[in-house]
């Protein structure tokens, strides 16, 4: 499905139906709610579409009349006629600019992994400058440092693991400071890598006593690995050892035999294979297809003091995410982000991650185009799921208002508005149900979900 609305398509409904206007009814929209942002040929084209839609809507308040008109004269004639008396070009330009940013020179922190692809590539590929910003992307040493630097306002916004803004807002592992997530960086894009010597131990039931590394306590990596182990009957707190290890040290530790495997963000997984020390046991996508991984986060304070800068930044990220979601752009992206200034990794490794055609470490070449994917919409149901896992593993003690926290941190409403303005079609609802390893999660009943797990930390 295309997110770009063609207002000159006689079969399209411009006002009734669902919120995005692509589906005849809200129900149909819900069905297709697994959003994919597919960008159009060019920025101008897309904005032109938005403006033209508005103009067409004003001229033909009745959908039936508009369709009849388009059917009789044809779309190209209609466009030509419309341009005759309405300055579409000028209107589009005015629309695309938005409010002037309060602060143009911004600093955005990132961790050098492929999850940060949209944040990083937006610099060399000019997405920030297109939205009137001068952004310096700064490589940062670790998750705790990126958290502290963002809290200290050295960074205006930053790349964070999806659960981190929730943890910071709740005051877990830091002082409670309200943070917000306007966009998810990437979905999927992690994997479980085991040391080559374990190549016959593919059943997790045999993993008792092994040592695994995860990048951070408040990470999807931690929750997914725990989930995966628990589903196979292992208690992640007693049957295995989980260690928080910075990603680059994971490969070195695997080589040195200090750990048996890790659930890491990508390019680290592929790097372990590239260096011949491990193999890909499982892509995280096989645990939960479409899971969020990293997020783009900023403090509430920044959002309120510089709303236009924030909106422009979000637009740039959403734009970059849309560009990155296209398979044909992935090779170009891999080359753009590989140099030492950005991720600093061999291009082959990044290409394998981004294109999804990769060596599995056991002598085979596998292809999975959705190994990592990019989708900016901050589903609040993602946040609710993370909260259930924080609760499940004892990171949150006591009661938690799942919905309130999710809505405070994950800015689905604002992003939706922004995406609509940009001519993309965000989903109508901020909640969706999904399945993790075949088990359905209902965001409306988080307490029941937590209670349904046999293996969890007693609270």
């Amino acid at each position: 499905m295309s997110t770009f609305d063609n207002p000159f398509d006689p079969d399209r409904n411009l006002r009734a139906g669902c919120a995005c206007g692509q589906h005849r009814s809200a129900a149909e929209h819900e069905q297709a709610a697994a959003l994919r942002c597919e960008p159009v040929e060019s920025e101008e084209k897309r904005y032109e579409g938005v403006v033209a839609s508005a103009v067409m809507r004003a001229m033909f308040p009745q959908d039936v009349a508009r369709r009849a008109f388009l059917k009789s004269v044809g779309a190209s004639t209609a466009l030509a006629a419309l341009s005759q008396f309405f300055p579409l070009k000028t209107a589009t330009e005015v629309f695309a600019q938005g409010g002037a940013p309060e602060k143009k020179d911004l600093k955005v922190g990132f961790i050098p992994i492929t999850c940060a692809t949209p944040i990083i590539m937006a610099a060399p590929l000019g997405f920030y400058s297109k939205h009137g910003l001068n952004v310096e992307v700064v490589k940062t040493a670790g998750w705790a440092v990126i958290r502290d630097k963002t809290i200290n306002k050295e960074y205006d916004a930053a790349h964070m693991l999806a659960p981190m803004p929730i943890a910071i807002s709740l005051g877990l592992g830091a002082n409670a400071i309200p943070f917000a997530v306007p966009a998810i960086e990437n979905i999927n894009g992690q994997g479980i890598v085991l040391a080559t010597k374990h190549k016959d131990k593919r059943d997790p039931k045999d993993w008792k006593g092994m040592k695994f590394a995860i990048p951070f306590d408040y990470s999807m990596h931690n929750y997914l690995l725990r989930y995966y182990l628990a589903e196979h009957g292992l208690d992640p707190d007693t049957d295995v050892q989980l260690r928080s290890v910075p990603p680059p040290e994971m490969v070195a530790n695997l080589r040195a035999d200090n750990i048996d495997g890790f659930l890491a963000p990508d390019n680290i997984c592929q790097r372990a294979i590239y260096d011949g020390v491990g193999f890909m046991h499982l892509l995280s996508k096989e645990i939960w297809d479409g899971h969020p991984c990293c997020s783009f986060a900023a403090s509430r304070e920044f959002i309120t003091t510089a709303p236009n800068s924030f909106a422009a930044l979000t637009r740039a990220i959403v734009d970059a995410t849309a560009f990155a979601s296209k398979a044909e752009n992935r090779k170009q992206i891999a080359e753009a982000i590989a140099p030492a200034n950005y991720i600093n990794a061999p291009v082959t490794v990044l290409e394998q991650v981004l294109t999804g055609t990769y060596a599995d470490g056991l002598g085979g070449v596998k292809t999975d185009a959705k190994r990592v994917d990019f989708d900016p919409f901050p589903w609040q149901s993602f946040a609710v799921w993370m909260l259930t896992q924080m609760k499940r593993w004892g990171q949150i003690k006591g009661d938690v208002d799942y919905k309130a926290v999710a809505e405070q941190v994950y800015l689905a409403t604002d992003t939706k508005k922004l995406m609509t303005e940009m001519g993309l079609s965000p989903p109508a609802s901020a909640y969706k149900s999904f399945a993790v390893m075949g088990k359905t999660f209902d965001p409306a009943k988080p307490e029941d979900y937590v209670a349904s797990f046999k293996i969890r930390k007693a609270s």
Partner: protein, 279 residues
């Protein structure tokens, strides 16, 4: 005699270096056993996996890379990728700032403490407790309170290099020979003049020894601090290359850190010789 000793020592040094490089080269030679794999698969893998290349770089790899760095030490490819010369300059500037601040505080303070036996006894427990604290232990505290990573790095240098200087100054001032002070007293020299013309020159060698220890510590600390806060500096360079598992660049950085540390130490050693006096 001395010149021939120097010559012989130089020859032994060169022989040791050659032996070290030789062993290193042999130990990291590629095993040459190419694993059997399909060419399509091999294209996606690194040299370690395909050609049995040692994960540890040999001296030739390091030499070639070093030459590459030396050819263009001041390039600037954006905020996260700068030449080694620029990185070293950042580190030296940070060390210089933190260290100078420490000198400005430690020497006057040490002087006052050293001249008063009461203060020197009273403050001793505090100094003894603060002295052995690792630089990295200060880092989270500094980041949290100062809320600025580059100032935090300078603060950590300051706090770690102040103690040896302070202690040496106190010791040097306190142990100036009583006879000299008594002579000054007999000649009715004022306190200020006594401090500058008698005590300072007498304590100078000890103070400078403290400063020399401190500069060594400051240089040790900067690498660790920069690895933690990132951004710029030789410590950041090490971390960035470690991220890419580029052991070659890490070795080059180690070499440079050693050379710069030695130069800093030599400068202070020269100053020490200038103020040393025969008794």
């Amino acid at each position: 005699m001395t010149s021939s000793l120097r010559l012989r020592a130089g020859l032994v040094s060169i022989a040791l270096l050659a032996a070290f490089l030789g062993v290193w080269h042999l130990a990291t030679r590629s095993t040459g056993t190419a694993a059997t794999m399909s060419p399509e698969y091999a294209k996606l893998m690194g040299l370690t996996a395909t050609q049995g290349k040692s994960a540890m770089p040999g001296p030739l790899d390091v030499g070639a890379k070093l030459w590459e760095h030396l050819k263009r030490p001041f390039y600037d490819n954006g905020p996260n990728d700068k030449g080694l010369g620029i990185q070293l300059a950042y580190s030296i500037a940070r060390v210089g700032t933190g260290y100078l601040l420490a000198v400005l505080v430690a020497i006057p303070l040490g002087f006052l403490i050293g001249m008063s036996p009461l203060l020197s006894k009273a403050l001793d427990p505090f100094i003894q407790v603060l002295k052995p604290i690792s630089p990295l232990a200060w880092m989270p505290l500094a980041l949290y309170t100062i809320k600025d990573s580059s100032i935090s790095a300078i603060f950590v240098i300051f706090i770690c290099s102040i103690w040896p200087m302070l202690l040496n100054t106190v010791f040097g001032v306190a142990s100036v020979r009583k006879e000299w002070i008594n002579v000054a007293r007999t000649l009715e020299v004022g306190t200020v003049r006594r401090a500058f013309t008698v005590i300072l020159p007498a304590a100078a060698p000890t103070i400078l020894t403290g400063m020399r220890i401190s500069i060594g510590i400051a240089w040790l600390v900067i690498v660790a601090a920069e690895m933690l806060v990132g951004g710029t500096g030789i410590g950041y360079f090490v971390w960035n290359e470690w991220n890419n598992l580029s052991i070659t660049n890490v070795i080059i950085a180690i070499l440079l850190i050693g050379i710069v540390g030695m130069l800093l130490d030599q400068i202070l050693a020269r100053f020490t010789r200038m103020v040393t006096f025969p008794e």
